[in-house]
Symmetry: D2
Subunit: 388 residues, 4 copies
């Protein structure tokens, strides 16, 4: 029996998958050693390369994106490396655990969790510690709904000669961000956010110098589920896969890439951006506050709002779900209890959802005794779409 | 576009998935924090517990079975542990890499790859080295099609007071093997072999004393994709998942367990056993040789045969595929080039497939100039079914 | 490649199907003569009987509902029969074609297409023409969004001793209407409206006296796709089906009935009713007019509104689709060009959709230069849900 | 819960559907009035036209193929027409019911049900009765497994100036037969036989003169589920569909046509032909008799064999199903009790199935006490493939 899924899933991940993806998951299972499957796998890698705008071949790891992030840390950061970890939220902070585990020393540049990293500050930090070898940054802090200026940060790191790890798990596919454009050495993306596929894989763009550094890192995992090196040549038809691929997930990814490229990345990004701006307009008109310190850093993927004074985040979430069958997400880690998060990624990136969720959110607040301006909220959300 | 899957997939994994599993993969994606999903996950854990005949709750790791095996080694084997690794094939041998990585010393008891481990030899080895703390064994050596007597070995290890890791990846679900019955402390199984689901998860049965040992092992991975400890309480509805579950795979597993329990495990085992005995009868009547030294240790899951003198394994495999649309597997590691492997797991465990594959194998040998007795082969395979 | 389906389908049929239905359509195809399929078919008939609250067995015809209506006319109406055709809309009117084709004379009782039939008028008509043998009525006039009081009409017809054909195609499953409760002799329903399955079958409840009348009607189709008599014993396992069943559609119906009964018919009806009342409240608050002459006869399945003066129905529909990805239906036949129709059947019967569609409709009107009160509309739709 | 489908379905229809078809059935349901759906429908019509090699547009009726055959009779045969009905089996005979219902007089040319119609006899019959206006023939008599020489018959009918109705329901897609090549005025085909889709639609090729004759036939159904005329312009985007299309079935047909054209019709035909010849070789070597009087008229779609003396058809069928999970069909009508039928259409048209079914059939006969030469049967089936 299927899980009873709410009518409208506006969560921060897993998100609803596109219908084409769900159908693709049901394709018959081929044998991973069959030349027909190897040719198919190569074709998927090719589509992913196109979507990632890579000059080299991307890598697919057979576990959801956190595997890719841990693998990046374990593989790229050598025992002697000093790491600059840029922290503007829960995921950036979390990376420190792995950086510390694998590196020599970790330097952190931290801003409040509703702020973004300033590239100039990164430049200062690198000047202060010329021995910094690896820099890590989370592009989209999903628990905060904020973006870091990765392209600018990447330029600074490149000028410094450092290696850059970019967590673009919840931004890739939903906006204009690509590995080489942001000077990433390892760029970690996910099929289960803006691409609208299911969780179970990590998508990685890896630079030539990152491969070289990993190969020369004796601590880099080999013969391990955490290994990136094991996968360097996985695209070659004469090599067996290091581990059995998650075949159904590869099928889903194939369909997700097909539809992403068919709709056109620019159109997909515009859909995400318009949904976000309309949602923000509606939420503000309701009389609620956005969590990001300013709209310029608010992400097109997730709209994060402060929990209204005196209300419980769980009560609002549950009321929206029970009364309107609209499900949003709570905060996470540091932002838990402080925020509510409206995801609009993949199929949920539909501008009209702004009207719906603002109505549902407004209705829940009112039902819990908190006065909001529902009429203005819906009207503003709609106007936000129309002005898009 | 789907991969063109051969008509009959008699591979050793990935194997064809049951139709109910494929359909379940296409279910809508719920949010992993939704109470409705948490209740569903708990129900799946409950079904798995029933199938595994466990008194405690099993664990699902979010990567295919090799993740579970590596995680077991990394978690259970402490820096000071002496490990006895039982080797009767490629996978047993492969475990040594992880045992060596995490333990103090590794002792190996090895037999030829067409033989099985003798429990008496295990007893001797343990007597010779009373400091052995962990024993590891692969139940079904898929590259050899041979079974080790895990229940007897388990009894010996238990009497010794050791901890036992059992790789039952390609046997669980296809025959009568369960964690507690074989005294396993960590028992590693897979949805994508005899259960007929897709690769992407590991299923683990873990004893109370294994949990205790892992908790007290400072080297056991924590905050890692390789961690078992992170998942100890994942079944609790008030805890977030350590990583996002591979939701589609959980859907598939749910359907696989439903049909496994509905058909009845005993009936499923009988289907595997009959397919195997009929296939062995047919192959021998063709005039070919089985790889296992004796039929008593031949597995009900995979029939492994020696490549006929003068023929190429690849040529036979390709001829069977191209001419008859029947796909079997080659050898792996040490057995590569020496054997051909006919998988009959999950939906492929259908006795009549014995007739089909014996015909196709015979036809391929003959086409390549090697004389076989096709009439006798098919007749014997059929008789093998009828005598079942 | 899939058809690009708008984000929100609020059409009057075909409507979006439930996810469980879509998955069921993908089940493997069994042979219709296989005893396993016959047992399954019988089980589906049993579920349908439960849903229809029938004391006898229902019939499934292998074509969408218009087949069932034509078959009912052709089978029940004999060459000598006088038929009273009750007309309150396009579908009622359309039935006259078949009544005239098969009967002796047709008497029509017609009301404007935004009105409902008065049972007292039916009583008068029957008194005026005691020779009326068959009465036909459409319960829910989908092109008008209006309901006729079928239970009361049924009582009048029963007192008269007439035979009653009820077209409940777009109401069954969405509200409390069942064959025996409305004294229907032939009750025609559909899987592809409120049950949320796909078009391709008709569901019929047939009284014992209707079977008798058909058997004694020499003109009733036999050995024909239009035949009902051919199907009288189709549920019997020892009879072959008159025509090959549309197996995938039966699979879909099975899943639709499972979920209908699992959610509970009363809960399904409440969901439809609340969506409709909230939508009506929102539409009125926008400043638009409902098509039905009074709300008491407005259906819980479809909300029909007058096209605002000076606007084009097609322009509104297209603007809603292009700008907001919300698709509604135009009028049909007599109501074409005069109305717009918002369907909320099956999965679309979600109260929060009232807010969404009122926003989208308001936005389209405004974009086309027609002033509406969007704030009030959304607010009223939400209030309509909250007061439900 | 899915119906438990036997492992190998070698039935005469419904047959197993291709995986791509099953997946397509699960696509989301669009609205039939949506321009996006109309464009899609037009594309499907275009693919069908290609597959049918038509110079005009084909028609899709929304019910399984018997609807198309009845509709052809009702539409083309006028009240004054004399019909020559060619009978070589159950379906040809069955057509007489409809011909008689709609025409003035019916002339029958009948041969034994294991024989084929001789075109010279048709020529004689037409000369004897110059007033014959319509000729009907079944190309592949599925209950007999025999083919009629439709191209030659068509040439004779064309020379006579008659109208030809061809029932190609179970041959189209499985061999080289197309409407215009056989001079058919109405050519009736099915998605659920050799195309490997599901039952629920009829595919029709209709000549310009047939359209003209139907338009001038006052008895041709109009405003009816049985109407062909209603569908003449259904492909036009500015016309509503006469009845709601069975959308899921259209999705399935779309996928079936895609894969048919991608594999290549010639390759599909070769696959059917080779499966049939290998099956016939095997069956004969078993020591059983084919039903067709000679192999030259045996169809590539179905192999029909005589029930061995003293055995029950049902017992053989049931033994094959229960013991080997291979399901074949019984006879039908006149051939019921006399024959067993092995279907190899669509995905079942796999040459290696010849070995499997010959083994299973042989095993069943032997189990029931009838001596057959199983070794020779399997060997001959395999040799049949290899000589192909």
């Amino acid at each position: 029996m299927s899980v009873a899924v709410p009518h409208l899933l506006l969560t921060t991940g897993p998100v609803a998958a596109y219908a084409d993806v769900l159908n693709a998951l049901a394709r018959p299972v081929p044998y991973d050693g069959d030349p027909a499957f190897l040719a198919f796998y190569e074709a998927v890698i090719g589509k992913l390369r196109t979507a990632m705008r890579l000059s080299s071949l991307p890598v697919i790891l057979q576990g959801e994106a956190i595997l890719g992030i841990e693998a990046a840390a374990a593989s790229l950061i050598a025992r002697e490396d000093v790491v600059l970890n840029l922290v503007s939220g829960v995921y950036g902070k979390g990376f420190a655990v792995w950086a510390r585990r694998h590196g020599a020393e970790i330097v952190e540049l931290q801003v409040p969790y509703n702020e973004a990293i300033d590239p100039a500050a990164v430049e200062c930090a690198l000047k202060a510690r010329p021995d910094i070898r690896v820099v890590s940054v989370c592009h989209h802090e999903t628990p905060s709904g904020t973006l870091n200026p990765v392209a600018e940060i990447g330029a600074v790191v490149a000028a410094h000669g450092g290696f850059l790890i970019v967590d673009a798990v919840s931004s890739f596919g939903g906006m204009d961000v690509h590995p080489e454009a942001v000077h990433a050495d390892i760029f970690v993306a996910s099929p289960s956010k803006c691409l609208g596929a299911t969780p179970g894989l990590t998508l990685l763009g890896i630079s030539a110098r990152a491969w070289e550094k990993m190969r020369s890192n004796p601590g880099a995992p080999r013969a391990s589920f955490l290994s990136l090196l094991d996968w360097e040549h996985a695209w070659r038809r004469d090599r067996p896969f290091p581990v059995t691929p998650s075949i159904a997930e590869i099928h889903g990814l194939d369909a997700a890439l097909d539809r992403h490229l068919a709709e056109g990345p620019e159109a997909v990004w515009a859909r995400h951006a318009l949904t976000a701006s309309a949602t923000r307009a509606g939420v503000k008109a309701l009389g609620l506050d956005l969590w990001p310190s300013r709209e310029a850093i608010a992400a097109p993927m997730v709209t994060v709002i402060r929990v209204p004074d005196g209300l419980s985040d769980v009560a609002i979430r549950d009321t929206m779900r029970d009364r309107y069958s609209v499900l949003i997400s709570l905060g996470r880690g540091e932002t838990a209890g402080k925020v509510l998060r409206i995801g609009h990624m993949g199929p949920a990136a539909q501008p009209i959802n702004a009207v719906t969720v603002v109505g549902a959110l407004g209705g829940a607040c009112r039902a819990l005794g908190y006065e909001v301006r529902i009429s203005e909220g819906c009207e503003a959300a709609l106007a936000g779409i129309d002005s898009g």
